[in-house]
Amino acid sequence: MVEIEKLREIAREVISREDVRQLIGYRQGTYGFRARPAFVTTPEEVDQLIFSPACVNNLATYLTLEEKLPVPRGQEPDLRKVAVMVKGCDSRALVQQMEEKAYERDRIVVLGIPCTGVVDMDKVEERFPNVLSRGEIAMEGDKFVLSFDGKREEVPKEELLADKCRRCRYPTPLVYDQLLDEEVARFADDDYSDVLELEKRSAEEKWAYWEEKFSRCIRCYSCRNVCPMCYCEDCVLDRLNPQWMRRSVDISENTAYHIARAYHLAGRCIQCGECQRVCPVEIPLMELNRKFYKDVEELYDYEPGTDAEAPPLLATFKVDDREDFIL
């Protein structure tokens, strides 16, 4: 685990630099266990920074989400660098963003956090109902330690670990300027068991499954907004002219939305799981993304967000790509 003092010391150094305008990290959330993003612009603010297994957010999102307000006449835009703290999974978002030329490598300062895993808040809630709002969580060895109401609960890591961490291939960031701790070796691999299980079902069963999921969707677009890869200036999915899908919330338009969202992430999703985490109606969005992820890996030996120099998956081809489905 990253030592908080060391983290703050490095952060202080970084934000003191003249060429850095902002540092994006984590701070304590309003309620107990929760962590939330911190946007630090002065050395004084550094003491609020933390890192704990509750730091689930992918901060790479804020690099592309930041609104660029019009620069007033006679002023220059602030083009100084932005520093960002990233876990292994989050760092892949940076790599993918750079593959897509969202910014140049020298525009960011990356503080890499070798990650031993984060918690799944839903699993905590299930195990210890109603304590999320008061208490703390830490990782000690291979256990999560929860402290609340003067109690201390130790839980084996496995039991509360987020699903994405169970199959994490890159716990140590793939890109960084400074690493805040010792590298963490890959501790798991992905067997795609969730996707394989769904693939085995019949067409009727599959649709019945997804029809139920999609019909819950309220089209809040949280999944899109939180995604570090969804940063178009003007998303085609809510454009009126041409209108790809209507705004009405029904199974037809919802399905179209989810097909389009997932397809737009084919060869781009880096498996941070943020979409599913933020979904208010618990649509298993990662099961959609992971179908593409699995196919892309199997068919094209391609893993998004691992090589900033790689050509975008769907903007390249091999002459001998599989085509046995073609008449």
Binding site: E205, A256, K291, D295, F317, V319
Partner: protein, 146 residues
């Protein structure tokens, strides 16, 4: 599915590249090769122009099946378009199948300008495939009448 009956005449939207498949379909015409009338064609310059989301849109807008047809590999008028199309539709077809959309509804073919006869075979294959899975009854847009 009660609707899977022999009277079902599917409605299939096809995207054809101008140089090979559209010309092949024209050749079927000049050769007076008869084939089922279920397929309706949208001409694009290259199969590489076809956005896979067109498939989603067609299925949503009432098509029972979609066909994308381009030049054989290596023959693309624009050198590479069909290779891009091949990747895009491989992934889209697998994904739709994963959602429960039968793969018979999403087809792709290579038909050259000289393959009028193959065009007929492709159409027959696609039509019989879609007939075998019946009308699209999953996420098509309801036509509102008020």
């Amino acid at each position: 599915m009660a609707e899977k009956n022999s009277d079902f005449e599917p409605n299939i939207v096809a995207f054809l590249c101008n140089w090979c498949s559209y010309a092949g379909a024209d050749l079927a015409g000049t050769s007076r090769i008869q084939y089922p009338s279920n397929v309706r064609v949208i001409r694009v310059m290259c199969s590489g122009r076809v956005n896979p989301l067109f498939v989603m849109n067609a299925l949503q807008q009432g098509a029972d099946g979609v066909l994308i047809s381009g030049c054989h590999p290596g023959d693309c008028h624009y050198m590479q378009g069909n290779y891009y199309a091949r990747r895009r539709f491989m992934l889209m077809r697998n994904f739709l199948e994963y959602l429960g959309v039968e793969p018979e509804r999403v087809r792709m073919s290579w038909v050259s300008a000289s393959e009028g006869a193959k065009w007929k075979e492709v159409i027959e294959e696609v039509v019989s495939g879609v007939k075998s899975v019946g009308p699209m009854n999953k996420f098509q847009r309801r036509q509102l009448n008020w």
